[in-house]
Amino acid sequence: MRPSLIGEFLSPRSLHRLAASLLLAVSAASAAPPSDDSLYQALGAEAGVATLVDKLLDRVYADTRIAFLFAETDRTNLARLIREQFCSETGGPCAYSGRSMAESHSGMGLKEKEFDAFVEDFIVAMEDAGVPYRTQNRMLRIFAPMRADVIGK
């Protein structure tokens, strides 16, 4: 006689398989950058990303809460690296040539309030650049988890 469907579903082996496939799905969702370039296109591709990064750095360099953190940073070089990062993280045809988030922020001792101020500038810059709200959310989903790599290092 065949075991009941529920019995089959709850058997240790199928639970194992379920757990494994859930883990796979979760790691696939959180790890690899998007394989499609829909977010890159939604940002307006190369020109859109360039405008966004310009508006972001305009905000950041004028924001007394965090501008001092960038006093020694060459804006032109920083803008290029952020354009590369935005492009590669959103599925665009670029490679990011900078150091990892953890490396580039080590020794800075960034505070939570400075990180949140930057995020706010980023959101307002996206609004300035005319990035639709739902596209803004997709950007935040990519970059929010990086907080752990940049704070208090």
Binding site: E112, D116, T135, R138, A144
Partner: protein
């Protein structure tokens, strides 16, 4: 502090007081209110803890990051025709870790008072809350923000509750909340979900005292809320709060509501809800409107 006293005194005329708070906040203008992202502090519940309207969240009130201190003050009213409940209070958020809150509630027994031969009867309660964020961040971590809270409640009009069988005029609710925002979670809108487990022996949240013939021990109650942010400034959602109570003669219903919340900036938020509170103290079909105003500093 002066604002708290002001809120308390003003609770008899909440609409005028709300307007006054709004004007104060407008005058406060660009004064800092912390740096956390908009809406992450939630609103103020009727019991004073940060959350929705009836379900607390794991969030620490206001907008302080781990480097900052923030404060909030609120006024709210829910009106079902037979009852109206005014709440007013204030809370302090310390370093996005600890929340201290106080609230005073005033329930007007609009229908029951005259029926009991006690026209103008009110049931008042004070609530003092402490909430500790255990771990996580509502938006920045993959796991939820989880907080443990206690609410010490002291009923100020215990005559009616004692007559209907409540054994104590004060007690402590203990709750554990988990709150998570899923960025671009539903149709690329940000979605939030919150679950709270409350260990309580309150009758009608304490307005009818604590314990009674139905049992004197605490019971575990589930509370959930969730919704979507349709922009940075607007959220739409729903809440559900299980209740049981220990007064067999006055069975309680679970509470639920749907709400719209508006966060124009870090200083002000407004929540409007349609509530369904079921049967409260023998009066059926208690539905009505809820309005809450919060200021953050």
């Amino acid at each position: 502090m002066s604002l708290l006293i002001f809120c308390g005194k003003a609770s008899k005329r909440p609409w005028r007081a709300m307007l006054a708070v709004a004007l104060l906040l407008a005058a406060a203008g660009t004064q800092a209110a912390g740096t956390r992202q908009l809406a992450t502090g939630g609103a103020s519940t009727i019991e004073g803890s940060a959350g929705g309207g009836i379900v607390p969240w794991a969030s620490i009130t206001g907008y302080p990051t781990g480097d900052e201190i923030g404060a909030t003050a609120f006024l709210s009213r829910v009106d079902t025709g037979d009852y109206s409940l005014d709440s007013a209070g204030a809370a302090l958020g310390l370093f996005n870790r600890i929340e201290l809150s106080v609230a005073r509630q005033d329930l007007d027994l609009i229908t029951l008072g005259p029926a009991l031969g006690l026209p103008g009867a009110h049931l008042r309660q004070h609530v003092v809350g402490v909430k500790l964020r255990l771990f996580g961040d509502v938006i920045y971590t993959d796991w939820p923000q989880v907080s443990l809270g206690v609410q010490y409640k002291k009923n100020r009009d215990f005559l009616i509750p004692s007559v209907v069988g409540a054994t104590d005029d004060s007690d402590v609710d203990i709750y554990l909340s988990a709150t998570k925002v899923f960025l671009a979670g539903v149709g690329n809108f940000n979605a939030f979900i919150n679950g709270t487990a409350r260990y309580t022996r309150a009758n009608e949240t304490g307005l009818l005292g604590f314990g009674g013939p139905g049992g004197n021990g605490r019971k575990l109650q589930a509370e959930v809320s969730g919704g979507l942010l349709f922009s940075r400034h607007f959220a739409v959602g729903a809440e559900y709060r299980m209740k049981s109570g220990s007064l067999p003669g006055l069975p309680e219903d679970d509470w639920r509501d749907v709400f719209v919340a508006w966060f124009p900036n870090r200083h002000v938020s407004v929540v409007l809800a349609y509530v369904d509170l079921g049967t409260i103290a023998t009066l059926n079909d208690q539905t009505g409107w809820y309005l809450s105003l919060q200021g953050a500093f």
